[in-house]
Symmetry: C2
DNA sequence: AAGATATTGAGACTCAGTATCATTGTCAAC
DNA sequence: GTTGACAATGATACTGAGTCTCAATATCTT
């Protein structure tokens, strides 16, 4: 099930490049193959490293130049959790999702969607004179329930 | 109404330093006076500039060393909007607020509160087995309305 | 094959933030 | 008040993610 989706994403991106009169180069192929060949979140530097395993000629500059194209195409999502690097999600097209609950005790991150939330955000923004472009909700919590069930592998304290 | 609050915050912070056996220095006084003498959000570099107007001996290092103390004391809130600098809110103790709309074109930031939002977040979190500890909603938008009124001094493009 | 131009890699650069370290300031004990 | 332990300081070197520049190269259309 995952395979075809990944290929579809790759094809979509190549089409995106074509539509913008951008060229399909060996380096971009290596980067795109890497991005859509994993399910994991990654940083720019990780992507550079992985892409270089496919094509050692890929440079840092090209990775940083390609990432905005990937996010612009809507196939990859850029996330900022307040660290000094950004994290990219290659599954965005399949599961577009900007809402995260992070357990402060363990590393569990749960994503969720909510139409009611989207609607409320739009309502509030419009009322304040803004047009929503993107949104990100982060809820820091403790997974009491899961702790009881032994699913939360508490790390600190 | 704002005056006493500001002084209260200042006193609280000096008490916080004392409780941690940290020293009250001229530079920290200048920084604290600056922080609690404004209602505006600020960056570390802005704080440095402003504090230097009160005491020219304040260094960048001291500002960056004092900011974590201010946030640790709970009187100032650190925010990260995905730009390459952090923004600090000196009103945190009075109006704890984690919902922001950021205009991507200009630097305008609007805060808002919403009981409906809080309630919805609680509802969703509980449903997923979490207990909310804190939350942060960031909406990136364009202030179309304000642009029309000439209030959004669009910078790029 | 040729030409217009998009793309590239290398490395210089930016900029917020951190680390280092010799010097100075604070404050409690005397 | 002096003293002294040590917290705090400024200057400055450094870090690390990300950007910019530019001459050289690759792509794609004709």
């Amino acid at each position: 099930m995952a395979e075809p989706d990944r290929n579809a994403a790759k094809e979509k991106f190549l089409g995106f490049l074509e539509a913008k009169n951008l060229r399909i180069t060996a380096q971009r192929r290596a980067i795109v193959d890497t991005v859509f060949g994993t399910d994991q979140h990654f940083t720019a530097e990780q992507l550079l490293e992985w892409a270089r395993e496919k094509d050692s000629s890929v440079s840092r500059a090209t990775v940083y130049r390609t990432l905005p194209l990937l996010t612009e195409s809507g196939l990859v999502h850029e996330m900022d959790f307040g660290k000094d690097y950004k994290i990219y999600d290659p599954n965005y097209a399949d599961h577009p999702n900007h809402n995260h609950i992070i357990c402060d005790d363990c590393d569990k991150i749960v994503e969720f969607e909510s139409d009611r939330l989207d609607q409320l955000e739009n309502e509030i923004s419009t009322g304040l004179g803004f047009k929503v472009k993107s949104q990100q909700l982060r809820i820091n919590a403790s997974c009491e329930e899961m702790k009881r069930l032994g699913e939360c592998k508490n790390k600190g304290n």
